[in-house]
Subunit: 339 residues, 3 copies
């Protein structure tokens, strides 16, 4: 692809030679001689001196650059569109059941379903059209998987779980593990298991990351709302409700019955206490520990989490604290001398 | 089931019409017209106005409630018992080895064992009576699994690991991964692997959650004591000893040789330094970082963890700190003016 | 083995009876009568009174010890060497493809490769000599795995991923999951998936722990450098670069494009913001939240992370804060009385 063609594709313009050929996309550091790279943040500009990229996508012209620049308002979005143009169409697996797969005779497979090697579909499960169940993944008894879904290798959809359409379950993720519920017993006795008889409903267009776990409800259901995006190694406990379009970053743990508002954004390694509610559109900084309800639209941080502005003020004050102690000592000394 | 029957089952009484039929249990929010819901905490009382539940379990009568109330001392325990009465008996899989499973001829299976599709039992392993090994799970060479256990889909029991009776290993959990041990090497050299020749012993009635990892000992053994309950995505490093009946919540990471006292309770995302000891019955707040021994029966919090009361006092003081700085400035100014 | 032989093996000397027989290694607590134990830290010396070990490895003579002491400069390294001498040689599986495994006809297996039960090698994948692919593990289309690697049960190597030689992928770990990239959409709309068209390169001698996840790059590649050691349940996001010999402890989460310098050491449950760089040889305390670049060789701690010395000073000051408030009150009172 010529650079000028890439520019046309994304509504940008070329500063420099638009006839340059680009054959792939790459980071500034890794780019080879035929690659198009991009300058995501101004602080990376020094890398322009050393990159081997043939051309660079950026938000502004770059005076003195050694290579042509594709100038476009949103370089990140542009790069994504160009990458998609280069991306070889993912070779869709042949529909059909691999000879090493195991599909129970009472399961129902839609048109064009692909069941990969060593994959398993158990009794009574229903799989929607064109869904891919990859190597070693499994779908439990009576589960329902929608159309155009993808279950990556080793993904586990437990018995009775319901997935909508266009859902992606990452490799070795688990949807429908038992909820963690035990009644304490006396000393020397074993805690009693509380039956976890509920299920999980995952709505359309949800992504659940590799290694993530979503527990079934104690009763009723755990819900992951339409278009929600759950990153790798996230724990969603029993009876949580994740709102539509919410984004939850890696290693976050949501305790039982947490409600995550629609369109909210949780950083990585956030933890929540049980039964709290995060309002729609709220943003929670990474590693926060949320112990009470958060109003819609607010940004919170810290453990225990509080409004981000408070957290910042306190953190800044803490930085000054060693100096404050010294100042306090001086005042005390002066007061003592006065007496 | 009539509400009066449910009340008899749990030793409660009905305020209102005991003849109402209930056909399932659900949360207040999700309940449909035939469901029995429960009021777990007083602050959820406003939901009573909007729930569609046919009846509600609560600790007290609720004046003005639109539906009959099943009043019982411990609503949570009562609900659990009623849920169990409604829970369809889990369809136990047929005993036997699925045609797509792989059981080594030198492995020994007890009476009534079920080995699911694509599951694996390797050479010399022994599986106790009535144990279920579900789809895609595997048991390594020479491992011993007790009676009445359940290995959920994709669970991995590594070579030589020993599980007691009635143990549940969650989906895609790993028991017996290599311990993480390396000797640092000089610059440019690769850290040396320390052989991890020990094993893991998991005692009777233990639950290990989905995606959790328990590493084998460097030498000797990693032990998970009788009745301990380990939540999803927990990391238990080499040579840890988890006491009987301890409860460890999701995403907690126990470093090498941590000792967790019996009956202790660790919140989610707790971390520990290596070689420390948490006393029996101690309680550790979520996200705490434990860097030294904790006496039996105490409650600790924070990073580095300290007694919960200290942590609370310091946290409250931190909230006041920005204001304190202002007050200190005023004192300094007054002192300067005096001079 | 006689104790004197063990001493010769590690260049140590025996204080006491070198003719004592030792038949295994164990921790001080767990050692039986024929075991060799070791005193890793002086604070464990009280255990010497109660251990049943036949002999003990230590850095110094121990006056009054009931058993002979093998004195050696580095007891830990010595113990490792002795443990290796005792460790039964791991029974290497027979080379060949298990009858329940699935190897695509277009895949290429090197000499002596072992593909275990229910394992999968997909189209176009290439597996180097003597590599073991254990029960239920899978290698995706076009992936390349080097020689002498080990893929533990349920490990997932996704399509197109490249592994060097002597790489170990832990049980149920995932290398090459989709990167977590979404473009926010308007209210009520579903976030758009950003194509993740890059790959992952794992260099020679890397260990990746059980349940860990390494995401493929958005474009270009995610790199785990030579000899790096990644613990269980670690998340490595798209486009990260882990330096040679870096050590990353359990449950740490590296956000997109994090650069981890060679030989650096990250504690457990560390989190990083995207696009930051940790210098070579830096050390990050467990549970730290890294939000900006860290210079080479420094030790940092806390959330947001700062130099360890600052963190310590601030933490110590925080401990004093409740008392400071009282002192400030007294000064204010005295000042008020003066007026």
């Amino acid at each position: 692809m010529r650079l000028a063609e890439a520019a046309a594709l994304v509504g940008g313009r070329v500063a420099g030679d638009g006839a340059v050929e680009v054959s792939g996309v790459a980071g500034l550091r890794e780019a080879g001689p035929g690659d198009l790279a991009f300058l995501s943040r101004a602080i990376y500009a020094p890398l322009l001196a050393s990159t081997r990229a043939a051309a660079v996508v950026a938000a502004n012209e770059i005076p003195g650059a050694r290579m042509p620049i594709l100038v476009v308002k949103d370089p990140e979005a542009a790069m994504t569109r160009i990458a998609a143009a280069f991306a070889p169409p993912l070779p869709r697996p042949e529909p059909g059941v691999h000879r090493s797969a195991s599909v129970d005779p009472t399961a129902a497979l839609g048109e064009g379903v692909s069941v990969g090697p060593a994959a398993v579909v158990e009794a009574g499960a229903r799989i929607g059209a064109r869904t891919e169940i990859r190597a070693g993944a499994s779908v439990g008894r009576g589960a329902r998987v929608g159309a155009d879904c993808r279950l990556d290798p080793g993904a586990r959809v437990a018995e009775g779980v319901v997935l909508g359409d266009r859902v992606v379950i990452g490799a070795n993720a688990v949807v429908g593990s038992d909820g963690f519920g035990f009644l304490p017993a006396g000393p020397g006795k074993v805690p009693m298991r509380v039956p976890q008889t509920g299920s999980v409903v995952v709505e359309d267009d949800v992504d659940i990351g590799a290694g993530a776990c979503v527990a079934r409800a104690r009763f009723g259901k755990t819900v992951v709302g339409r278009g929600a995006k759950i990153d790798n190694l996230v724990q969603v406990a029993h009876n949580c409700r994740i709102g539509d379009g919410a984004i939850v970053a890696a290693l976050t743990g949501l305790a039982g019955s947490t409600v995550v508002g629609e369109g909210s954004l949780l950083g990585g390694q956030v933890g929540t206490s049980g039964h709290i509610e995060i309002g729609a559109g709220a943003r929670i900084a990474g590693q926060s520990g949320v112990t009470r309800d958060i109003p819609a639209g607010e940004t919170w941080a810290g453990t225990a989490a509080r409004p981000h502005r408070e957290w910042q003020r306190e953190t800044a004050a803490l930085r000054m604290l060693p100096g404050l102690i010294e100042r306090l000592r001086r005042l005390e000394k002066a007061a003592a001398e006065e007496e």
